[in-house]
């Protein structure tokens, strides 16, 4: 699904990624590790199509509507409610039976009771749960998760563990994390930057 050869990216004079080779097959769970500043986030942005490589080749055999990206930022609007955020993305992704799917995800991630509250009133952990709802809303084939456990409490982290375990094998994962132990058991390959 993802093939990269000699992938590199620079911002002005600064080279943030250099000579990365990556092969991720359908249904694989690829783990990307590395210290701060090693280019993990840049690699994930390149694969998501949010940035273009400065050098090398990258092939991603999946269309934009089949990609789910969990970035450093939750990518939700703070002045909208959880429901309004998911409605917006549900419309943009043309999710069938949108209302039911949104309700199911909000229930699963423990946000149903707070669905009419603006995200600005959410804690960081609740916002991260909402971000996960956004990512899973359109049932993406390729899940790109950048530090997915950030800000989650123990219960939220367990929910995410269960979700990853449930989808592993059915979906393709590209996950970057500072805490590889948490997901290493699920990983089929590991790239250290």
């Amino acid at each position: 699904m993802i093939a990269a050869r000699g992938l590199g990216r620079r911002f002005g004079d600064k080279r943030v990624l250099r000579g990365v080779d990556l092969d991720v097959g359908d249904g694989a769970f690829a783990l990307v590790t590395g210290p701060n500043g090693s280019g993990k986030t840049t690699l994930l942005r390149l694969v998501a199509g949010l940035a273009l490589p400065s050098e090398g080749e990258l092939r991603v055999d999946v269309t934009r509507d089949r990609i789910g990206l969990l970035a450093h930022d939750p990518l939700v609007y703070r002045e909208l409610t959880a429901l309004e955020n998911l409605e917006l993305y549900g419309r943009l992704y043309h999710v069938p039976e949108r209302r039911e799917r949104i309700g199911m995800l909000l229930e699963r991630f423990g946000l149903w009771d707070a669905r009419h509250e603006r995200v600005a009133a959410y804690s960081r952990g609740m916002t991260q749960r909402l971000a996960l709802c956004r990512v899973l809303l359109h049932e993406p084939q390729l899940l790109i998760l950048d530090e997915p456990y950030t800000a989650l409490d123990a219960q939220g982290a367990e929910l995410l563990d269960a979700q990853l375990a449930e989808l592993r094998g059915e979906r393709t994962f590209l996950v970057s994390t500072h805490d590889p132990q948490r997901v290493r058991a699920l990983a089929t390959s590991e790239l250290s930057l």
Binding site: L50, L52, E79, L80, E84, Y89
Partner: protein, 212 residues
């Protein structure tokens, strides 16, 4: 149909965000009213209709600049532009929706500003209103495009007016022309042509300014 539905969803979101923030429209109204009051007392008595027309256009362009400066604030602060760019909708829908939302606020400000202008300067004609309506389209189309270009840079507050004002000069020429000549058709046609050309350019090129 999907394209229109995407534009509708995004426009609704933009209007909702700006209405809830409660800063853009009040700031625009206050600014445009203050400009008219200042010019009313600073222009010498008996100043020509030409001078009054000129200041109307200065007020409109700078009021629009306020709205354009706020248009991409939610996307910048919450980095949600990434999520919109990643969504499967045509990326030009993001530009069109943002332009429509900005246009709504600009028109709302002008509904108050134009009667105020008439009250202070007595120079409002049908051709002026038609010129303002046509110029609004160009201002929002070009301004939103420039706003999206500027929002990813560090010097965004400087870049937006620096890029936008030179591009707005033809609109001011056309608008002032339509306001002061007896046969404004040529100037209104010029404004319509500007709108068409720049809207097409921005629509086609928007994709390239939102991907790194």
């Amino acid at each position: 149909m999907n394209y229109l539905s995407d534009v509708g969803a995004l426009t609704r979101k933009d209007l909702l965000l700006q209405l809830r923030a409660r800063d853009t429209l009040p700031a625009m109204l206050l600014f445009v009213a203050a400009v008219f009051v200042v010019f009313h007392f600073s222009l010498p008595a008996g100043s020509s209709r030409l001078a009054a027309s000129g200041l109307l256009w200065v007020a409109i362009v700078f009021t629009a600049l306020l709205a354009l400066g706020r248009a991409f604030v939610p996307e910048r602060e919450q980095r949600t532009l990434d999520a919109l760019v990643l969504a499967p909708c045509d990326r030009s829908a993001i530009w069109l929706a943002k332009s429509l939302a900005t246009l709504a606020f600009l028109v709302a400000a002008e509904i108050v500003a134009l009667p105020l202008f008439e009250l202070f300067f007595h120079g409002l004609h049908g051709s002026t209103v038609a010129g303002v309506a046509l110029a609004d389209l160009g201002i929002c189309a070009v301004g939103t495009f420039v706003g999206a270009t500027a929002v990813v840079t560090r010097a965004r507050e400087l870049l937006l007016p620096l890029l936008f004002l030179p591009l707005a000069i033809p609109l001011i020429i056309g608008g002032v022309g339509a306001s002061v000549v007896h046969g404004p058709g040529r100037y209104l046609g010029f404004l319509a042509l500007y709108d068409l050309l720049f809207a097409l350019l921005c629509w086609a090129a928007f994709e390239y300014v939102v991907v790194e």
